[in-house]
């Protein structure tokens, strides 16, 4: 079979062969369902009616209007953006600060940097559950509050405190992410310009602001971007800690789509909303990959 073995010998053919597996899987479980969603998104399909999706009533592009015109969904989008806007800067500053503080040589450095990354490696579902245990009425956070202030707060059933608890869990888990990236970036900085600045009489703060920060622009941008994008996906903590409650107080985008799709089985509407999120994220991601692309090329 000369025809078959040529696939391994001719570079142009071998290239196609190499790409083939990923394309098969990609088409099978990403492209086909995506095309399907465009159709289902424009029907009012609810699987409880025991009809198949291709028999559901077609309502057309007006479905997008219905999907957008959903206060709970819009609130979840706004809330997710808000969580990201609060959590990401805190994680960034904290992670950067830790990376800077632990930079030089000191006894126990290895141990501290090792421990500092541990939260990131905890399975988020388990992490969410531990934070549930800690913020619950009989948990240790309330225990400490009792000792020092004598009051106790029902963190997870108060709308504001529930949101704060979830943010704290996210900060706990993802500050190490920034810490790791910034540590690596700080360690790989060339020392000559920094020493030169000191020789020329720059103060520590001046050297930090005018020499170190500009050299860290690329990794800072990458860390912030990746964290910002990941923060839009937040799901495990609200799911484990509050189930989106009390009421809708901690419902995020993912939580909202999960509930309306898989709990209330409004497939048609959820499909449309998924599409909207999908398109919005593609636009954001398109700009987000640019610095990654530049860093990969080593520019």
């Amino acid at each position: 079979m000369a025809g078959l073995s040529s696939w391994f010998r001719i570079p142009e053919k071998f290239k196609i062969l190499l790409i083939l597996p990923v394309q098969i899987v990609m088409n099978f479980i990403a492209i086909i369902p995506f095309a399907l969603t465009w159709y289902v998104g424009m029907t009012n399909w609810v699987p409880q009616l025991t009809i198949d999706w291709w028999r559901a009533q077609f309502i057309g592009p007006i479905a997008f209007v219905y999907a957008i015109n959903d206060q709970i969904f819009l609130a979840a989008v706004a809330r997710t953006l808000f969580i990201g806007a609060v959590v990401v800067p805190i994680e960034f500053l904290l992670g950067f600060l830790l990376a800077y503080v632990f930079l030089g040589k000191f006894i126990g450095r290895k141990f501290v940097t090792l421990v500092a990354v541990v939260p990131m490696m905890v399975v988020p579902a388990a992490g969410g559950y531990v934070f549930y245990l800690m913020f619950v009425e009989s948990g240790p956070v309330n225990g400490l509050l009792q000792i020092f202030t004598g009051i106790s707060i029902s963190f997870l059933s108060n709308p504001t405190w529930a949101l704060i608890s979830i943010m704290l869990a996210d900060i706990w888990q993802w500050t190490p992410f920034i810490f790791l990236i910034m540590s690596a970036a700080l360690l790989s900085l060339p020392q000559e310009p920094i020493n030169a600045a000191y020789v020329l009489g720059a103060s520590k703060w001046y050297a930090f602001r005018r020499v170190i920060i500009p050299m860290l622009k690329r990794p800072m941008m990458i860390a912030l971007l990746l964290r910002a994008i990941e923060s839009l996906k937040i799901f495990d903590y609200p799911y484990m800690m509050t189930q989106g409650g009390p009421g809708y107080a901690t419902q995020t985008i993912t939580m909202n789509l999960y509930e309306s799709g898989f709990k209330y089985l409004k497939y048609g509407k959820t499909a449309t909303q998924s599409l909207i999120i999908f398109i919005a994220c593609i636009i954001v991601a398109w700009y987000a990959v640019k610095p990654l692309r530049a860093a990969q090329r080593g520019e």
Binding site: L18, P47, A125, L133, Q146, I181, L275, I277
Partner: protein, 293 residues
Amino acid sequence: MDPRYEKIISSIIRYSFGLGVVFFALFPLYWMFTMSIKPFFEWSPSVVLWWPNNPTTLNYLQLFIPVETLAEWGLVNPATDPIIHDTATRAIMNSIIFSTFGTLLSVFIGTTAAYAMSRYRASGDYMFLTFRMLPPIAILMPIVIWFSTIRLLDSAIGMILLYGLFPVPFVIWLMRSFFDDLPREIDEAAIMDGCSPAMTFVRVVLPLVRGGLAVTALFIFILNWSDLIVALTISHRYAVTIPVQIGLFESDAGHMYGVMAALGCIAVIPTLAFGLAIQRYLVRGLTFGAVKG
């Protein structure tokens, strides 16, 4: 300022930050572990118990041994003690099987594609990166509809396929950074010596990046093992994984704190072990090869 004082002050700052980090990073894990060895009457006390007074392994036993057997042994009393009705063995087995085979699948399809992108200038790498930026739920809804049409919902095959697909962008970008680190002259020399492109890839290049392959595989395993949302939407009864199961344990007595914490501890062990093993490469993995630690 006197440099000697500066040194003392900076080490005071360092060690106080160090202490803070150790406390805040480890306390939740301490709490989960102690909860997992507390007997049920210590789960939700009126005054916080900072350490277990009556340590027990019963929570772990309940995860693996059916409650009837435990009752026969006289370890639990189903009439009065809070119990779980199903063991977690299925979830644990599922997690191991899905994560392992999903990882193998994604490393296979991702590595070949990464090689094509590194050496043959195949396109598509940015499409995959963009794909990774999307929230999984936006893609899961279509997948659920599609899987319900072809009867793959709540099945092992469906889960393995998804665990093979979702991490592919990571595999492509990570492996590409390892292939790019390898001088092209090696490939060219092999071709000059009469190797076919396929032989060059399998016999020459792959053995040279086997370290990178191992790092990638462990990294992907962690991602798959940690997943909650995919398993939650695809599985109902049969294909549940550990993260899903943690959320499922409830009984007539309310939340099964100790048993859930025990399962949480089991869930954390592999990710901690593998994560620390590949710590040096975590930055590279998490930034898609953009920052090389």
